[in-house]
């Protein structure tokens, strides 16, 4: 059966996709192209003098051991954020799916964090875990655990992972919940009649049927961890202590928007862009094979 729509006119399809192309061109390709050009330049903040420096900005980054360390940190951070985020929100979605009473209340509460701006999310967690005035710090101290993410690398990383995951859970939750609700009830009921327990039903029916959703969320979450978390980090740890929470995008943000080093920041964002493109290609080529649509 022919599924494709056939256009007799030569120009109509172009006209129809023109708005989309225009938007992509204007808001994606144009700035991306500018970033590529800027990465080969050195420029003062006001753009009064611009010098073509070829690959110097990149060379400087490659020669910088602290920048190279940041790759490992970023990898760990994004795996943690995507992994924990997906698992936790899947669990929450399963519970919310089973709830009969007050379902709306639970769902609303779970969706609220998505409306919170990243910086606010960061500040919120900082208030909870501030070494001097944090409520959570106080109770941890009472339990005999000394929390000071200003001094402790691991705690700092844990804090930004928690804050980033918390922020993203709502988004994942919505997709999982929608996914779960679109699984035909008949399948589940049939399995129940055959004597499959809840765990078995989840593992053999729900999870496989959710795999397209999970895959989509995996891509989205990795991109989120790579690009959208700088606000949280800036509010919570500012990349410290030392450089232990300075992931790639945070350095781009800091050097570009705070320090106004446009060339250096552009070079970093070009590298970041390449990594995410490569990651996405890998995901679609290898991970997608395990997905059943």
């Amino acid at each position: 059966m022919e599924k494709r729509v056939l256009f007799r006119s030569a120009w109509l399809p172009w006209v129809l996709i023109a708005p989309q192309l225009l938007i992509i061109g204007l808001f994606f390709f144009w700035p991306a192209g500018q970033a590529v050009i800027q990465s080969f330049q050195m420029e003062d903040a006001f753009g009064m003098s611009t010098e073509w420096v070829g690959l110097d900005n990149f060379r400087q980054l490659v020669d910088n051991p602290s920048y190279l360390d940041s790759f490992q940190r970023t990898a760990m951070f994004s795996v943690l954020v995507a992994g924990i985020g997906i698992v936790v929100s899947l669990v929450l979605a399963i519970f919310a799916d089973r709830i009969v009473r007050f379902a709306m209340v639970y769902k609303t509460l779970l969706i609220v964090p998505y409306a919170v701006a990243p910086v606010i999310a960061g500040v919120l967690w900082v208030f909870l875990f501030s070494p001097s005035i944090g409520v959570a710090t106080y109770y941890l101290g009472a339990l005999g655990y000394n929390w000071n993410h200003m001094m402790n690398d691991g705690q700092a990383m844990a804090l930004i992972v928690i804050a980033s995951v918390w922020k993203q859970i709502s988004y994942n939750f919505l997709f999982f919940l929608a996914g779960l609700q679109s699984i035909p009830k008949a399948l589940i009921e049939a399995a129940s009649i055959d004597g499959a327990g809840p765990w078995r039903r989840f593992w053999n029916i729900q999870l496989p049927l959710l795999s397209p959703t999970t895959f989509f969320l995996l891509v989205i979450n990795i991109v989120y961890a790579f690009f959208d978390t700088f606000g949280i980090i800036d509010a919570a740890t500012q990349g410290g202590p030392g450089q232990s929470t300075s992931i790639l995008v945070y350095k781009v943000y800091q050097d570009g928007f705070k320090a106004l080093d446009l060339g250096g920041s552009a070079a970093q964002s070009v590298i970041l862009m390449c990594i995410v493109v490569a990651l996405t290609v890998v995901q679609f080529r290898y991970v997608e094979k395990k997905v059943q649509y």
């Binding site: 006001f46 200003m150 410290g240 030392g242 320090a259």
Partner: protein, 438 residues
């Protein structure tokens, strides 16, 4: 949020336009929040009421780094404000961007305004003045590093609460006693780079960077030199105190301040602008004192470097508008306006006249310690104490934080960390030199 802000600004601008057609409008972008925001609005209001020809419109544009980024974006698209408040860390960038700004000295001279750079406190004036003697930006809100201590905690530890420790050995001694008396946080420090490296260098009259700390005519060629034996000795002493639990690191920027007002930490070194917060929130007797020093260092104590911000005039505006800017600055430099601002905000009185007027009014006697910051600044400045004006300094400050944090947590020695600041910082300075090649 950005859009909401924009819409609000636009709406405001629209109403202003309708009501004041005949007046020439002067846009003033600033970063003052809360009580300081009210102060800025009041200044504009007073000026607008004092004459009919011009109207100053102050707009809050986010924190210092945000307003600067916003102004740069606006400048690039031809919509820069007339006046922009820039923090001291951005000074080198503003200075080097010739053509983007108009020197304040020139604005005042062209308008025939009454303006005497000599009336400003030397350390303030020198910081914003080009090597050729022309004042580049208008000194506005300057602060400096001072020392605060909790008198109640001092008493409890058997220390003399009426006399703050004047030297570093005394500070460390006091910290030990505070610790022994059961105080969990004897000392903390805010703005580590600013207070422990920059102000510390000026206070001890030692070089922070070559080319007169970046203030010479070849300032863009400057390189950092803070791995001297004195710097290493000081950071090492602090590291030892950190290890002994006598100095507690509480985070970057002003994060540590809350632990002082809460009574958790008994001593802190931070901005004089913190005074308002302490005066309002501290539930204990406190004292303000000059920064500690090492008594065996020749030339110590000198004076401290300034923080805070100044007002820059952006290029590409109409002559009539510059006249308005000059008029506004003339208004701001009046001694009574300056003195009132100083007493209201805790920022430095930036002219000698404002200091004397405040002194005569009995303000310092009434609020003891409020003159500490001034006394630290009103001295003859040396090449090492005039201020620090380096390119890419926002990034260098971050490097200072990163490396010092490794010292406080015991992962790096003081020497290694300072060496790393020097080498990493100098790479950025080399980049700056290159991007601003004349």
């Amino acid at each position: 949020m950005q859009f909401k802000h924009l819409a609000l600004t636009a709406a405001l601008a629209a109403t202003v336009c309708v009501s004041a057609q005949a007046q020439t409008e002067i846009q003033w972008w600033h970063s003052m929040t809360a009580v300081n925001n009210e102060w800025v609005n009041d200044l504009a209001k007073q000026f607008n009421e004092s004459q009919k020809e011009f109207k100053v419109v102050p707009t809050f544009k986010g924190a210092y780094d945000e307003s600067m980024t916003a102004a740069i974006a606006a400048f690039r698209s031809g919509n820069a404000p007339h006046i922009l408040q820039v923090f001291e860390v951005g000074t080198a960038t503003m200075m080097a961007s010739k053509g983007a700004t108009v020197p304040v000295g020139k604005v005042m001279k062209d308008a025939g305004a009454d303006f005497n750079p000599g009336s400003y406190i030397p350390a303030v004036a020198a910081y914003y003045t080009a090597p050729n003697g022309e004042m580049l930006s208008f000194p506005f809100n300057s602060s400096t590093t001072i020392f605060y201590y909790n008198k109640d905690a001092f008493k409890k530890a058997g220390l003399n609460a009426d006399k703050a420790p004047a030297t570093w050995p005394e500070v460390f001694e006091a910290a030990k006693k505070l610790k022994a008396s059961g105080h969990s946080c004897p000392m903390t420090l805010a703005w580590n780079g600013w207070t422990q490296l920059e102000s510390f260098s000026a206070w001890h009259n030692v070089e922070f960077a070559t080319e007169k700390n970046g203030l010479s005519a070849n300032g863009y060629k400057a390189r950092i030199k803070i791995n001297s034996p004195l710097h290493v000795r000081h950071i090492d002493n602090l590291a030892k105190a950190a290890k002994a639990g006598e100095y507690l690191y509480k985070g970057r920027g002003s994060a540590a301040q809350a632990s002082f007002t809460a009574g958790e930490c008994a001593m802190i070194q931070t901005s004089s602008g913190f005074y308002g917060d302490v005066a309002k929130n501290a539930k204990f007797a406190y004292g303000l004192a000059p920064m500690p020093y090492y008594p065996d260092v020749k030339g110590a104590p000198q004076n401290t470097v300034i923080g805070g911000a100044s007002l820059w005039v952006m290029a590409g505006k109409k002559p009539a508008e510059y006249k308005g800017v000059a008029k506004f600055f003339e208004f701001l430099s009046q001694t009574k306006v300056q003195a009132a601002s100083h007493q209201r905000t805790g920022y430095l009185p930036i002219t000698m006249g404002a200091y004397e007027l405040t002194d005569k009014s009995g303000f310092y006697a009434k609020y003891p310690g409020t003159d500490v910051a001034v006394n630290q600044m009103v001295r003859k400045v040396t090449d090492n104490s005039r201020g620090i004006r380096l390119g890419n300094y926002v990034q260098i400050r971050t490097i200072e934080d990163e490396e010092l944090e490794q010292v406080w947590s015991g992962k790096k020695s003081a020497k290694d960390a300072l060496d790393a600041i020097v080498s990493r910082g100098n790479e950025l300075l080399a980049r700056f030199e290159r991007s601003y090649k004349q």
